[in-house]
Amino acid sequence: MLWLLFFLVTVIHAELCQPDAENAFKVRLSIRRALGDKAYVWDTNEESLFRAMVAFSMRKVPNRETTEISHVLLCNVTQRVSFWFVVTDPSKNHTLPAVEVQSAIRMNRNRINNVFFLNDQTLEFLEIPSTIAPPMDPPVPIWIIIFGVIFCIVIVAITLLVLSGIRQRRRKNKGSSEVDDAEEKCENTITIENGIPCDPLDLKGGHINDVFVTEDERLTPL
């Protein structure tokens, strides 16, 4: 009698969990893509962990605190690794509505991902969209900071160059005004030699040779 009951139960279970059954979800894992060499093998232990996580998620839903691990049924496990699962009610006759399961999974998606070291892209619940993480916006965009630095450096450099240019010009003007004073003394005497005016010889175009300027110092003072 018992084996008949057992047979009936497994048959009913088999009917509840089938590909494309009502309220069933397909799950696909890409363990090798996520972990590479550190990939673990998907065996029955991992399956029971998954069932535990789904049960945990359902227990957080207000009316479903009594969900047990045995209420979560897995079937059609392939080598991919992919499988289907349903969550049944305590009587094990009906499956819980897809909407409830979906919202429960979405609330705890992060924890389920972390248990298996996967993320939303490598642990896929087909037909359950993942919530997108909010963007991390820094308070001041980085480009403004760098722009400010470059602009300040450039403005400071321009100011320095302009100021040094003004100072150079002032020095040149002072130098040339001294030359102008000296010219006024010699203006009255323009000697002409061989038809060429001696203009080029005076201070306007010529250079002063310092060796001869301090002639009075050669003579010792009395």
Binding site: R80, V81, S82, I132, P135, W143, F147, F151, A157, L161
Partner: protein, 616 residues
Amino acid sequence: MAQAPSPGPLVDSCEDERPRWDSKFQYLLSCIGFAVGLGNIWRFPYLCQTHGGGAFLIPYFIALVFEGIPLFHIELAIGQRLRRGSIGVWTAICPYLGGVGLGCFTVNLLVSLYYNTVLVWVLWYFLNSFQYPLPWSSCPLDLNRTGLVGECQGSSPVSYFWYRQTLNITADIEDSGTLQWRLVMCSAACWAVLYLCVIRGIETTGKAIYFTALFPYLVLTIFLIRGLTLPGAIEGLMYLFTPDMQILQNPRVWLDAATQIFFSLSLAFGGHIALASYNPPRNNCKKDAVTIALVNSLTSLYASITIFSVMGFKATNDYRQCLDSNILSLINEFDFPEQSIPRDDYPAVLMRLNTTQPDRVAQLPLKACCLKDFLDKSASGPGLAFIVFTEAILHMPGAPGWAVLFFGMLFTLGLSSMFGNMEGIITPLLDVGVLPKGVPKEALTGLACLASFLLATCFTLQSGSYWLEIFDNFAASLNLIIFAFLEVVGVIYVYGMRRFCDDIEWMTGRRPSLYWRLSWWAVSPMLLLGILLAYIVLLAQRPPSYKAWSPQHEQFPSREEKLYPGWVRVICMLLSFLPLLWVPAVALAQLLAQHRRRLKDTQPDTSMKPEEGRGC
């Protein structure tokens, strides 16, 4: 000055005050920096790729030898001999041809405006490269935070960042939109940097050029080494350089080679004339011309090797991603174990599945993946730099660093070209004496930069990039070719071949050989006329159109081809022809002035007027 009587027009005695280069190397570097610009990076590799790979080098070098180097030599020679900017040089050669100088000056002004806008875009990308992950690596979320922005999902994060977050482009040129304050800020920074470098003319650009001209070569080398070690680089190089000799029968290839040489050397801008005018009079300008032209072409070649290796890497990457997505579809559908289909086995597995279960395979979204298709995707201009290359950088490890290097290189390349452009504007203004004597040079350069910044803000509108394309196509191309033609004709036929050769002999010590004389006398003018006619024919063949980025377009993300509206076409015409009007205008003005002077002259001449001494 020289002891021997120098032939040619008289030179003022205030020549001693003219600034000079610190060294020959500085002068060469400035000319190389001016000639080597963004076009070497993003135009030459594209032409090489679309015109038969290695075979393109043949028409390119023929154009270099018969058109580029002779014209370049003329510009350097007249600048060095007459020691004036473009306006002064032409007024000195022949007053009736003074319009050529004014026209070159105008074109230079127009080009500076839009060339600097490209630098603004480069600066914006440069500023955004200092973060991880790069902002163009993923789509932003939409307003509800439920998904990604539709426009971005429909195209690609890279395109979205360029068209929406940088340009914020409108769908039509008539819709100007608003000023983009981010671009206005970057524009202010760009013009400030430029002002800092050209503030005292060649005194300051001479110092800045050591960095801006040499840094790009360093970065190109780094990228070359990195590129060659990436997977797929060698295939890319081999495919893209494999010569296809058949393509030489297409006249378009020869036209493109000739125009590429012309614009690559930045001829007829007046910039080289200005730079050469600061040389000592006895300088071997022939050797300079050959050296600079060769360095420019070799840089183009070097850059294309780098670009092709990175493009090969990108094509291989895209091909692998295409294969991987197909393999994933198969694995998911048939529940094969993960990574059970290697990329090489994919065709065999697909065939097997197609024969056993064709209906299941048919409903899968499988794409046709062919490496050649990815390699054939070519891009030039801003598309190459801001879309294709930025996407390639995303896949390199350490992407922000590579992005910083790449955009830093583009910025310094463009900046050194802008130095030449600004010299081509400022030197003639200084020679003509636009500002009174007491006003310092810093004020003139400041005014020039400020005026250019204010004018260039029109390119920071939302439709700015459409206008930039118009300026690029119409303001620069026809005008420069005509001015270059007038340059050759003016110097060789009006000034006189014999006098010009005498000048060169005085400057360099050797008379130009037959190659030079033949090129100047016949080959270069004919080539220029040929290019001009071909341009006009191509322009007349189809009405000018532009490609608009319109998210509402059915074939989005392909760009929508639209015709220019009437008023825009009028502006295109004006841009093409107004600078040319200087030539007849100045000639006419000179004629009238000469006529009036002859009427006034009732007494016999006592002194030889300088204009009558010229054979003009």
